[in-house]
Symmetry: none
Subunit: 279 residues, 2 copies
């Protein structure tokens, strides 16, 4: 006896009628702007010297005043983890708008596609939307299942949002979301008991808007497997190979992140102004 | 008893006296201009999402008005083929000049070298020049054997030019070579019974000259072997690995194509004006 698996209709781009009745239909813009100059420079540099690449335990230093040594770049750490950093200018954006976006976009695949029209395919939450939750409370503790192209390849990714405190951030310093926020999440590969890495997006007020400082740690010690004992240890070794992205993939992710965050910044202030009351 | 293999004298660049008595000697220009902006952007983007990359069967859509979604870019399709696209502005060029060039350049290695002075090594036809043939008729149906560097490596390539109709193009729409032409060819690796891919250069009139839209499909289902039965099947599997270029090679080919076509455009109008009566 066979059980048909309900298939999801996955497609890149918008099909006719897909945005019908969506109040955000006019925000669909499939034109991606050219890469920003500092992302181009980071790609041309290629991998950086390992000691320049911070560990996950240094993430809380994002809240220090000033800039880090690597605000844009990528490379392989001595512990085997891939690290990448990208900064995105977000004129007219406030950190609170970014919190709103992270809670709002996962509700419908079409919202997720606004973000990167040439790479985002599907998104849904692992649970029901918490009624009335606002700001960080709408996404922290939840899991978003996304399908997206990184380079040429479709990836099924789980994004498990965690409290900034879980990565050691001082949440007292984040009390005013008009001034700063930090989006933190564990990244996993769907269908495998693998947790492949971490992402952190720090957003802080700057004159004229905000800037986002994105950080990824992938593979190496972060390519952990959720399985107990010996099986876990063996699987973990295997998973590290499977879940360890190549430099080529890190490059593709840097491009993807820079594009999606710049594209988001291009429409977020107007989208927020018009629709932040729409659940 | 040993038989010496007659060696061809292959060299990159022009040796002293090599252009003596050539009426096109003054067109030798070893300076390659910087890469055009949209090619730089395509290289920085890196591989694109697979669904954005058209199949060979979609090539005839080049004759539609307007632009394709990917006019500059590369990536790996879901069928395993590498795809790449590059656009080249060709001021003061007519599509008919490009047809003339494809028939004319293969006659002497020195002509071929004008095209990409830092990569082209040798070219010759597989047959005698058809007397009096003009336009497309001088190259379609013929095989050009070329030696050229793609990246650091010397490649021996066969270019078997075919009628556009063989790839499904509506030749009625190409009746006026002053308005448009399409150069179509099967690409193979010399010395192996492998056919590695296809190239298509669509040239159309635009205000002030022409534009060339180049497309390559390499490897994957296009890495076919010409050998019958079981041997063919085994060889084919092997050949697909051998003949499937890596992303790095696709990148190198994108650079090479953009350079040679921009370089060609820099001298073609004057070359044609002066020498189109020279067989």
């Amino acid at each position: 006896m066979s059980h048909p698996i309900p298939s999801r209709s996955l497609h890149l781009g918008m099909q006719e009628g897909e945005l019908r009745d969506k109040p955000y239909a006019t925000f669909w813009n499939p034109r991606i702007a050219p890469l920003v100059e500092h992302a181009r420079e980071a790609l041309l540099w290629g991998p950086l010297a390992a000691p320049l690449l911070p560990g996950l335990d240094e993430a809380p230093r994002l809240l220090d005043a000033g800039d880090h040594e690597v605000e844009n770049g990528h490379g392989v750490r001595d512990d085997g983890a891939l690290f990448l950093a990208v900064r995105t200018a977000m004129p007219d954006v406030s950190p609170a708008m970014v919190d709103w976006w992270f809670g709002w976009h996962g509700q419908e695949p079409q919202r997720y596609k606004l973000w990167h029209p040439r790479a985002h395919v599907h998104a849904c939450w692992g649970d029901a939307d918490p009624p009335g939750a606002k700001g960080r409370a709408r996404y922290v503790g939840r899991v978003s299942f996304v399908d997206e192209y990184i380079g040429s390849r479709l990836q099924q990714v789980t994004i498990r949002f965690v409290r900034p405190a879980e990565l050691g951030f001082d949440e007292a310093a984040l009390a005013d979301p008009a001034q700063a926020t930090v989006v933190c999440a564990r990244i996993g590969l769907l269908g495998l008991p693998v947790e492949a890495g971490w992402l952190v997006h720090h957003v802080r007020r700057v004159p004229g808007g905000a800037e986002m400082r994105s950080r990824f740690w992938l593979g190496g010690p972060h390519g952990v497997v959720r399985a107990p004992g010996f099986v876990g240890a063996v699987a973990s070794r295997f998973a590290r190979r499977v879940a360890s992205p190549s430099l080529e993939e890190a490059r593709a992710l840097l491009v993807h992140c820079s594009q999606e965050m710049s594209h988001l910044a291009s429409f977020l202030p107007k989208l927020y102004a018009e629709l932040h009351e729409v659940p």
